[in-house]
Amino acid sequence: MEPELAIAFPAVGAVLTAILHPRPRAALVAGALLGAAGIGAVLLVAPGLTSDLLGVSLAISAMSRALLLVAAASLALIIAFPPPRADRAVLLAWGLAGIAGMAAIAAAPNLDLVILLTLAIALLHAALGGRRPLAARLRAPALAVALLGVGLVFARLDGSQILARFAAIGLIAGLAAALGTLPYIHEFDPEEPTSTSPIAWIAFLGPILALAVITRARELIPTAGAVFAAMLIGLGLLNVLWGGLASWLTEKGMSAWHYSFMADWGLVLCAFGILVADGQAAAVLLLFGIVLSRLPLYLWSRQSLRESIQTDRPINLLAAAMLAGAAPFAGFAARLFLLRGATQLYWPLALVIGIGLLLWLPPSLRLGRSLGTPRGRLALGVAIALSLSVAIGIYPQPILSLAGL
């Protein structure tokens, strides 16, 4: 019954934290305890083992479990070292809700449920409020659901071979729309709280959703597997180019961060498109980087971005190096796997990706500087994020083993 508990504990934790919000300490304790219980359940899950307690067969794969754990770690990092003037109880409530949703998506037995759950999460996320009107907040995720649904329908139709290709288009486009990558970039308001902004999709919910969609899509349309992979790589390269350039050249600092997530997702899509073990390993490490490194740094840099503070201290430059995927951080290991996978698949692809990787530096320097001068707990948080990234970069085996690779 671990999958059920992995969903239930964080969900209840989210509700309790929200209810107890007027008493922050109690809310935090309740949320932390139930969240920890949920993570315990995730840890206890035997990958692939099905649980049928509620009449629905729930199972969590090793890779999904790894992503759930890293999402929880990221949330813990953010709650333990919160950004200036952040309401930790609210962060925890929505973080736990997100983890519950992610656990549900990870455990869902088929793509129908994954899409329906995505729609439910999209509605809840849109209902959070924020600076944009509800219709605008709902537009891209709902389009994603529709496209995924159409793709799913096409995948199940009998007839011409081209139907499978249409299915691939629907699933890829739906995934891009759900994540908010090019060409379906979510409308982004720099002043919007992170929990209600598209960052929640691209940096927190996105990884598990992408994993669920891509792994199931491969089973659904085996005849269009090559087209599916090619589209993933094509869309990935497009996002690498766009994300890198836009993140470097855009005027607004917050938007630069938003685009940098897209660039990272470009690499992830390329990695998922490379149908060898190294590609999957690269994808896992890159997703770890997005959730465990880029997301916390983004949250920690928002205040200094508002105050337009730019600093060149060692911590800023190390953060820039981490964001750029320079050695010895995890990004370099991921890039190494990506190059190796691409070499096995088709070496010119490795050349293109390799050239694309150089686009990370200028924006990363900019983003690193926008971190300002972290002090006290914040500095400790940044140091921990950097250390985790270095540890994964030098010794990625435990993470890969956790992901079943």
Partner: protein
């Protein structure tokens, strides 16, 4: 791409599945979706979502998924009540400048019909038509509107269509999709944003 072949549920009810009843149900679903596209008022949206739900419920029942269909009806009923209890009660059907919406509704219907009947093969044509039409029209509605209630109604329509489409799968997906769809349908229109005045 196993499609419906080898699926006892469909094979057993193949005749019923493509009977006049399911055809009418599928047409009702498309009509409901078209109404959601064409209406800006709560009553129009309520009728639209009701038609969509009834259509998919009928198809589900004709496929033997009695419990799932029931869940859809319940969820839809809550949604319609929520729609009709708050905000200004008007139809808002085809306001000025709706030509493009009419064209969208008709075009999607025709293309879906062509896809379901000609391009694809095997039983379950009505379900294929309904699913494609409603998904496409709801997507169009969500892209087109800037108001909360039509967007939420569109999301509800999406949920119902997705639940119905789950029957196209090679394996019996049980009633879970219907339960979640019903919760989404009801929940969408119970959200505070849906209670706000105006549509």
């Amino acid at each position: 791409m196993a499609g419906c072949a080898g699926r006892p549920g469909i094979r057993g009810y193949a005749l019923i599945a493509d009977s006049f009843l399911t055809a009418v149900a599928a047409f009702a679903a498309w009509l409901g979706a078209a109404t959601i596209v064409l209406a800006d008022g709560r009553r129009g949206l309520g009728v639209g979502i009701a038609l969509v739900a009834v259509g998919f419920t009928a198809i589900a029942w004709s496929d033997g998924v009695w419990v799932g269909g029931g869940f859809l009806l319940v969820g839809c009923a809550i949604a319609v009540i929520a729609l009709l209890r708050a905000g200004p009660q008007d139809w808002g059907l085809m306001p000025a400048g709706s030509t493009s919406r009419v064209i969208l509704a008709v075009a999607v219907g025709i293309v879906s019909l062509w896809m379901a009947a000609s391009v694809t093969t095997g039983p379950g044509a009505s379900l294929r038509f309904a699913s494609l039409a409603v998904l496409a029209l709801m997507a169009g509605r969500l892209l087109q509107t800037n108001a909360a209630v039509p967007a939420l109604t569109g999301a509800a329509g999406l949920a119902i269509a997705l639940a119905g489409a789950s029957q196209l799968g090679p394996n019996d997906s049980g009633f879970a999709p219907y339960v979640i769809a019903a919760m989404v349908t009801a929940g969408a229109l119970l959200l505070p944003a849906a209670r706000s005045h105006g549509a």
